[in-house]
Amino acid sequence: MQAPATEVRLESGYRYAGYMMLALVAFGAALYVFDPANVAGVQNFFLVFGSLLIEAIPFILLGALVSAAIEVFVPVTVFEKLALLPKPLQLPAAGLAGAAFPVCECGSVPVARRLIVKGLVPSAAVTFMLAAPVLNPIVIASTAVAYRGREVFWPMVLGRVGLGFLVAVAVGYVISDESKEQLLKKRTGRAKNLDHDHEPARTHAAPASPGRLLSGARFREFFGHLSNDFVFMGRFLVIGAMVAAALQTFVPQSIIGGVAETPVISILAMMGLAFLLSLCSESDAFVAASFVQFGVGGQLAFLVFGPMVDTKLGILYGATFRQGFFRTVVVVVTACTLVGCLWLEVLFG
């Protein structure tokens, strides 16, 4: 039987759901009364906003699905085999391991922490953490879909993979002297994601036990991860799509064009945008591809920088790693991405 306090807590939560439903109904009624088709700008905004989401939502869900499958069905010992490699090979191998495990940026942080705790060289775990969201097959597939038919198709797809790998390894080298104790923050209750509602038997960081692989509990846990990831990443995608649609609809082309045509500024601006939007790497290519005014360098900067440094990652890094780690990542990723994108701009711009 539930304790009375828990009952009250559960009941009071329905009040928030009620407010939310009321707000949604009011919004729907407002759309019905003030037909958006009557205002060209609003209709344009809704079309761009909707199209970005319709394109990206299946990739978010696909990523959540694979990520949940890895979390629930793949034992963490698979990752731990990296520790058996000679040290000089661990960073590149960790980077390449990202290609084999489709974990998004949010999922890769707890995985990296667990790998470090389990004895993997911290720099290799960090390299994996940064590379996986850029190199994983779903991200590559979504990038290919977004740029299919463009003359910058190969520079974007290969550039993202190559530069993402190099930047991740570079960060790994920079922090290679740090021990587990120096790098990791001591775990507190607050560090765990309070929004997640899993089966209580396991959390994100807990290993998949070898037995009962096909049990009902395991599948419930799988769908728990799936929907949690979808909801968690979906809200960032909605905000990102909203900002992208607003920029395209309401900001004069002369302003965007002015920024886009200034080489270094355009790359830094796209990095800043990626930081603010905090998109999931499985869907960010669709947003990047919509900024047609920006050259290959600017768009690539968005795609390499965003999965490694953004607002939500700042919170996750802060909860997982020591003070200053996020600053180090920002500096190294910014410098490497800027240099790499400038070179690509020279070669393909």
Partner: protein
């Protein structure tokens, strides 16, 4: 009682003490609303208003994946440790559902002249039609776009000056243009509406004041590339319904 039976008994007790978790109901609402959107797009055949023909496959894929996710979430609504709905999670779910309402409420529409005034044209975009494509076959707006993109392509267009063309697009008014002229615009999307680029030709010889901005028309006439512009000397202009696929795909 055997050890096995005890384990079963434990599982049974867990099941009976489990109850519906409000936060999971909210997750199901988010998944369910997006599932509805994807099935709605499929059933009403509105995919082409948002996506290119080459990326349209994501809609049936999304519909299936979302349905699987929704069914899974509905089957796992119960928990032995149900979590309450917090203000933050309610706002988050509301945010995810807002675009659902927009897509469902928005009448069938495509980008119009407002977008034409604010989107990049082909000359700054990245999609090309080769000079070989332009040189042969019926001339299309894709060929025009290719010609505006490269010098080689434009030369191929010039070689075909004076040929008859039939172009379909929307009327875009240029404030400074004579009364018998307008710009015919069609958007090309390689992925979704967000990456739309506009292809424009100037139509001359149009009946003054007969066609309004955003109206879909089919223009027949002879075409002449001049400078970087393409002009169509119209012989017939008729109003048409918006095509089933309003956007061109490379």
């Amino acid at each position: 009682m055997s050890a096995v039976r005890t384990a079963e008994g434990l599982q049974l007790r867990e099941r009976t003490s489990a109850r519906v978790s409000p936060s999971r109901v909210l997750d199901a609402l988010a998944l369910g609303s997006w599932t509805a959107v994807f099935w709605f797009l499929l059933i009403t055949d509105r995919t082409s208003l948002y996506l290119s023909t080459r990326t349209a496959w994501v809609v049936p894929t999304g519909a299936i994946l979302l349905t699987v996710g929704l069914v899974g979430r509905l089957l796992s609504l119960r928990s032995i440790d149900p979590k309450p709905i917090t203000a933050r999670s309610a706002v988050g779910i509301g945010l995810i559902v807002v675009p659902v309402i927009i897509v469902l409420a928005l009448p069938p529409a495509s980008l119009g002249s407002y977008a034409a005034s604010r989107r990049s044209t082909f000359s700054s975009g990245g999609v090309v039609a080769s000079a070989g494509d332009i040189a042969s076959g019926d001339l299309s707006l894709l060929d025009v776009a290719g010609g505006q993109r490269s010098g080689e392509g434009f030369a191929a267009l010039v070689d075909r000056a004076g040929e008859r063309v039939d172009f379909t697009g929307i009327v875009t008014k240029d404030p400074g243009a004579p009364a018998d002229e307008f710009v015919l615009t069609r958007f090309l999307i390689s992925c979704c509406v967000a990456d739309a680029l506009s292809v424009n030709v100037r139509v001359v010889g149009a009946p003054p004041g007969r066609f309004k901005a955003d109206q879909w028309v089919r223009v027949s006439g002879r075409f002449y590339p001049l400078g970087r512009d393409v002009i169509v000397d119209s012989t017939e202009i008729v109003a048409v319904e918006r095509p089933k696929r309003p956007y061109l795909s490379p």
